[in-house]
C-alpha cells in the first residue's frame, strides 16, 4: 500500500533562515510526487511536482524539492523564508489508475511557522 510520511508536524523558523520540510513515501510502483500549501482559511495550492526527469524540481515562491528514489524521499526546501510562508504544507503521492485518472494520497502535513 502507498503511504506518505511527513516527519515533522511543526517547524518553527526565523525569518530569512533556511528551512527543510521532510517527506518520505512508500510505494511499490512509480509515483508522482507533489507539495501543496494551504494558507489559513484557504484551499490547497500546488507548490511543485515531480513527474520524471531531473530530480531537483523548482516551484513557486522560491521553493524547491529533491526526489531521492533510493531513500524514497521528496524533501521541500527554501533557502530563506518569509513571514508570508507561514502555512500548512502537504506532501502527496499520486496514484495512476487504469481509468487514466489520478488519486492523491496526502501526508499528515507540516505546519511551518515563520517568526520575525
Amino acid at each position: 500500500a502507498q503511504s506518505v510520511t511527513q516527519l515533522d508536524s511543526q517547524v518553527p523558523v526565523f525569518e530569512e533562515a533556511p528551512v527543510e520540510l521532510r517527506c518520505n513515501y512508500s510505494s511499490s510502483v512509480s509515483v508522482y510526487l507533489f507539495w501543496y500549501v494551504q494558507y489559513p482559511n484557504q484551499g490547497l495550492q500546488l507548490l511543485l511536482k515531480y513527474l520524471s526527469g531531473s530530480t531537483l524540481v523548482k516551484g513557486i515562491n522560491g521553493f524547491e524539492a529533491e526526489f531521492n528514489k533510493s531513500q524514497t524521499s521528496f524533501h521541500l526546501r527554501k533557502p530563506s523564508v518569509h513571514i508570508s510562508d507561514t502555512a500548512e504544507y502537504f506532501c502527496a503521492v499520486s496514484l495512476r489508475f487504469s481509468g487514466g485518472y489520478n488519486k492523491l494520497i496526502f501526508g499528515a502535513g507540516t505546519r511551518l511557522a515563520v517568526h520575525p
Binding site: 508522482y32 507533489f34 501543496y36 484557504q42 484551499g43 490547497l44 495550492q45 500546488l46 511536482k49 513527474l51 502537504f90 499520486s94 495512476r96 481509468g99 487514466g100 485518472y101 489520478n102 488519486k103 492523491l104 494520497i105 496526502f106 501526508g107 499528515a108 502535513g109
Partner: protein, 115 residues
C-alpha cells in the same frame, strides 16, 4: 488550470440534519474528487465522482452517509447526511483536468460545524 467554486464556504448545522455542498468548475472535467479535512488533520479522500456513473467511495465512507451527484462535466454535489459533531470538518472538492499528469486543483473548501 481549473477554477473551482464551492458553496457554502462555511455553515453551522444542527445534529441530525443534512447539508449539501456544491462544487462548480469553470471547465469540463472527467474526474472530480471529494476530500475531508478534519480539524488539525490531513486530507482524506471520501470518493471519486465520474460523470454519468456512481461515485466510488473509499474505505470508511458510504453512500448513505455521503451521497454524491455528478449530473454533468462541470458540477458535483456532496451531501453530508444525518450530521453529528464528528462530521465537523472542511470538505474540499478537487478536479483532475487531465492536462498535467497528477495535478489536482482544489476549491477553497466548505467548513462545516455541527452542534
Amino acid at each position: 488550470s481549473a477554477v473551482i467554486s464551492q458553496k457554502p464556504s462555511r455553515d453551522i448545522c444542527q445534529r441530525g440534519t443534512s447539508l449539501t455542498i456544491q462544487c462548480q468548475v469553470d471547465s469540463q472535467v472527467t474526474m472530480m474528487f471529494w476530500y475531508r479535512q478534519q480539524p488539525g488533520q490531513s486530507l482524506t479522500l471520501i470518493a471519486t465522482a465520474n460523470q454519468g456513473s456512481e461515485a466510488t467511495y473509499e474505505s470508511g465512507f458510504v453512500i448513505d452517509k455521503f451521497p454524491i451527484s455528478r449530473p454533468n462535466l462541470t458540477f458535483s454535489t456532496l451531501t453530508v447526511s444525518n450530521m453529528s459533531p464528528e462530521d465537523s470538518s472542511i470538505y474540499l472538492c478537487s478536479v483532475d483536468d487531465g492536462e498535467v499528469a497528477g495535478e489536482l486543483f482544489f476549491g477553497e473548501g466548505s467548513r462545516l460545524t455541527v452542534l
